[in-house]
């Protein structure tokens, strides 16, 4: 039974207004069960107000072998960091 259940990745939104964050994965036979399992495994302590699940096999991932080509070129472009702004105190979650 269990070996046939596909893996789902779980994303939880902890509060209204925040983004969904990846928290882990669950095995489930279908989408409905995946939501229920995610609820039972990852929101037992009121961690969330919304759940997304997606089949792990549907996620397209970057190839670790291409890491140099993908990420190294950003290394010497320090001017892209927004470090020259002052952030007002009222702005949270930035």
């Amino acid at each position: 039974m269990s070996e046939n259940w596909p893996l789902f990745e779980v994303f939880i939104r902890s509060r209204a207004g925040l983004e969904h964050k990846h928290v882990g994965s669950v095995h489930a036979a279908d989408e409905r069960m995946a939501i229920e399992h995610a609820r039972d495994v990852y929101t037992r302590r009121q961690e969330g107000v919304s759940i997304w699940v997606v089949r792990s096999s549907d996620i397209v991932a970057s190839d670790p072998g291409e890491a140099e080509a993908l990420f190294e070129p950003a290394r010497d472009k320090v001017y892209r960091h927004p470090t020259f702004y002052t952030i007002p105190d009222e702005v949270k979650n930035l």
């Binding site: 039974m1 669950v26 279908d30 229920e36 495994v41």
Partner: protein, 264 residues
Amino acid sequence: MSAATDSRTDAQRELRTAHCRYVLRLGDTALVLAQRLGEWVGHAPQLEEDLALANLALDLVGQARLLLTYAGELEGRGRDEDTLAFLRDAPEYTNLTLAEQPNGDFASTIVRQWLIDTWQLEIYQGLCASTDTRLAAIAAKALKETRYHQRFSSGWLVRLGDGTAESQARTQRALDELWRFTAELFAPDEVDERMHAAGIAPALAALAPAWSARVDADLADATLRRPPPQPYPWHGKRGVHTEHLGHMLAEMQHLPRTYRGARW
């Protein structure tokens, strides 16, 4: 004291006794079902199902605590939730006979759960309008939990019923086996009638059609057959139980009875 005052206080006392019994029955059904679900912990087919069943059990323990505490207060003999849970023998337990039936296989556990979830859905919904505001508040909280329970158990019922040949055969067998306990769900006795007359509880028999309709809809989705109605010899809510409850209580009560006042 005049005869009129006497009979009024007698009537009040009888109403209070019925009230206590009514609340105790709801609490006992929740507690016994919770204990049965707890027996799955460490044995469920998947880690995720293990947690799911334990979560249902914890919701039910929460309901049982509120209801038993309230029943103890209505009784007025100083018995708290723990005394009622751990120091009563089977004949004093007033849960539905269905709740105490053994777990059997996973299909059996799901069918039992689904039948009771669907029952609790109607009961708690009806109790939200109770003139007893405390009971209405407990019901409103329990209703949210029960909606999830019914979603979980009906989902599994459909998955198993409309699943493989083996899962369907096992689920139908569980349904055929447990169906004889369902006549008790909506068979009112003098306690139910008194509670309805006092505006404390909904009319029990009036809730049956809604239960039946939901049951039929879920069974259709699950491609399962509804068994024929069966005679009603079960009286768990009057304290007459199948042999299974005593064994279950022996395990549940062993520790608090052996070590009185034990804490952890």
